[in-house]
Symmetry: C2
Subunit: 475 residues, 2 copies
């Protein structure tokens, strides 16, 4: 085992003990010497372990006393309960809050906490500019001519190689590139569904998926979902005879941040395969684990080609590049045909640039950085929420991704909160966007991909003040 691997293994081991409450707030950690003895490592390696934990705000040093576990403010706030949607396929009319919120995309005069995007120095913009320039020069026709329908070969090769790390064994020819992750899901759903079909999803659910399903004339089953472990499998079993397709955001789901445990992934994959119900897996957040290894996907447990694994670099690297992909399993021809008909091919330039970024190892370095920044951000958000939001607030405890799900008491309507916040230059995502039923009216999603600074802290506090005002007004 290499030294650097060893040090990060040990750090991760201790980190998860702290996060899971095995080591509690104020507990003294083993000394440097004890760690050396226990793991048979050098003093230097042991010191690196503590520095790593300190940089993640998991521990703090007391002069002459050693290291102690930090207070993890997000631990103090209760988790929202498992969701409880009505188990009936139903079609409400989409409400216009969605259009209102998404009309703000790309605006620079507003603090955008409403979309799950990493902003500012979270993304390696100057490195990516260089990659684009190089790709433009390197591509035979500079990307001016049509690419093949399946998309850039270098990118598909790099994505296939990375799939080894999460237990899949994809090959270049298993993959099709798309205009971002949502486009991958859209192509799959168009390829597999016919109007009147029923699709099962998590609840609350990413609004793009809800709107997509409605637009294609599908019926939607919202499944009860736990904020840590994802859909309740019992509920899926209950409706299994009534559904034609299932769509899940398996890892660090938006909005609730759930990550399905391996055993749940396996069980769901086997259950759906046994009924020949395709599973469209949206895995755009999988690379954003706060620490440790990237989680497996449902695709890792797919032995029949029944899982269509969709992902992108929109959440981790460059949203504006519109680079995504899908490994559609046994449905490849169908998906390829829909891509051809809807957009012929995709732009090759950004795909080539991303492929080179992955190949050079810069992506992994960037991810390491980004994950740590996001984790610290999440802690900061949780601290401010605890200090400034109404006392009865509940928040999710994601272990990765970009979304925080916040549940207020029932006196607060988050559509009213949106209206109040947007006047102060803050955009939030009201809970009603994430369902086709009349629920989540007192919940909202905040993205923690905005770099931390005093202005962000002050705006977050403002949201808290506005929420308290609404609470008083409606009491």
């Amino acid at each position: 085992m290499s030294k650097s691997f060893l040090y990060s293994e040990i750090a991760e081991n201790l980190a998860s003990q702290i996060r899971n409450g095995i080591i509690r707030e104020g507990d003294k950690l083993p000394s440097v010497r004890m760690l050396c003895a226990e793991y048979e490592i050098s003093m230097n390696t042991a010191k690196r372990v503590f520095l790593e934990l300190e940089s993640q705000s998991l521990i703090y040093a007391k002069p002459q006393s050693g290291y102690f576990a930090s207070k993890l403010s997000y631990k103090d706030l209760p988790l929202p309960g498992e969701s409880n949607p009505i188990l009936l396929a139903n079609h409400c009319e989409p409400n216009d809050i969605l259009q209102k919120v998404y009309a703000n995309i790309g605006r620079e005069d507003i603090l955008l906490l409403s979309y799950t995007v990493a902003y500012g120095d979270m993304l390696p913009i100057s490195q990516l500019k260089k990659e684009i320039v190089q790709a433009t020069r390197a591509l035979p026709t500079g990307g001016v001519q049509y690419d093949r329908v399946e998309g850039n070969a270098n990118l598909r090769r790099m994505v296939a190689m990375r799939s080894l790390t999460w237990g899949a064994n994809l090959k270049e020819e298993d993959l099709i590139t798309t205009n971002g992750g949502m486009n991958a899901v859209a192509l799959c759903l168009m390829a597999l569904s016919k109007p009147g079909d029923t699709v099962a999803i998590e609840s609350p659910c990413y609004p793009g998926i809800l709107q997509l399903a409605l637009g294609l004339g599908l019926k939607v089953f919202e499944l009860p979902t736990h904020p840590r472990t994802g859909i309740k499998i019992e509920a899926l079993k209950e409706v299994i005879d009534k559904i034609d397709i299932c769509i899940l955001i398996s890892n660090y789901n938006t909005p609730v941040g759930s990550c399905m445990p391996d055993e749940n992934k396996k069980e769901v994959v086997e259950l759906l395969a046994s009924q020949d119900i395709p599973l469209i897996e949206d895995d755009v957040y999988g690379d954003l684990c706060f620490t440790g290894h990237r989680p497996n996907c449902c695709k890792s447990f797919d032995t029949t080609g029944n899982v269509l694994w969709c992902s992108s670099i929109s959440k981790t690297l460059a949203p504006g590049f519109r680079v995504g992909w899908v490994a559609p399993g046994k449905y490849k021809d169908k998906v390829l045909n829909v891509k051809l008909v809807h957009s012929i091919s995709s732009s090759s330039l950004e795909q080539e640039a991303v492929a080179n970024f992955l190949k050079s190892g810069k992506y992994d370095k960037h991810l390491k950085n980004l994950r740590q920044k996001l984790y610290l951000n999440y802690q900061n958000y949780a601290r401010v929420i605890q200090q400034s939001f109404p006392k009865d607030v509940k928040i999710s405890q994601p272990q990765g991704g970009l979304s925080l799900w916040i549940e207020f008491g029932d006196k607060i309507d988050t559509i009213e909160l949106y209206d109040a916040a947007i006047k102060r230059g803050i955009s939030i995502a009201p809970g009603r966007m994430f369902t086709l039923q009349d629920q989540y009216n007192n919940s909202m999603r905040l993205c923690f991909g905005v770099p931390w600074n005093a202005q962000l802290e002050s705006k977050l506090k403002q949201i808290g003040i506005l929420a308290k005002q609404l609470q008083r007004l409606n009491s």
Copy 2:
């Protein structure tokens, strides 16, 4: 009137007299002096007029005798008749010839005459590479962050400005950018149709539109279409009570190359508006007039916002960039919402580069060049077809665009011809791709966007030889 305008006006005037047979093969043209007197122009201007006509192969000089009208080989071949599809909404299963043909996109080992794309030095590749590099540097985040849903503002402004030249008066905010022209049509059709609706189209029709309609669960009415003037308006009137949407490629249509006269455009627009049936206008070839002014669009005659005008630079500049747009009239909110749901936003980089290319005037220079090359190419194709194809062949007479529609006698099945040609490294587009009915089996489309050279000439001749062999075999 400026001098350069004057000279090109006069040249175009004479050119159209030659093309329309008012001046016939071998007819002597007026002398330079006569032209000077008739139009009150200088000797130099008159000489430029003749040089222009000569460069288009429309006239030739005889020493000491003056200029004479050339033999226009395409004039000798008869035009295919008006099409005659069954006037019933029907759904055949798509046949697999389409997948077979489109699987070749982007291949470099095959002569691709099957897609309507301009290749090689027809496109200003090195100029576009420079634009990309500059756009990457100029964009605030290098295109890394999400653009607004409606797309790049500079591009929308430039497209709006150009719309003045064809009688529309679009503004930046009337436009939404898309991933190419086909994606624009797809977004419009998804925004406006519901499964079971009926759409009226030209016949033969661009296969992407047929497949798109089938994929969305729509019924399709194929309308009789004249190879010069487009759909037969009487037929549209006949089915008007049975249709919900109409899609037309109004200018230099693919595959037949028809261009609707202004009075037809106006009549169709008024007819559809009176019945509240939206018209999706696909105008991707409009900029590719061989000579003279770019034609008007149906959108030019739209007073009610009922026309959704779709276009792109895929046929004129950079297919691989996937840059298109739509002016959706009164349906803007619906189209914007579908774009949001299916792909969130589009890649900004290529849009910015194209906007700058338009702004700099390089696009107009490029177009002038490209139009002339395409016209000469078309003449060369027609000459080889006349010399080497079976005697009873008929070909369309497009005045722009990239497609030639070729009709053989009924002994030739162009799917068989495809199979024979692909073995020799040539890809053609069999007529059966362009309909959902059992017709056009003896027709095919050839793209004339491939730069002319000896190899292309020899491959075209090979197609002729193969066609003659098939004719003998099947007689």
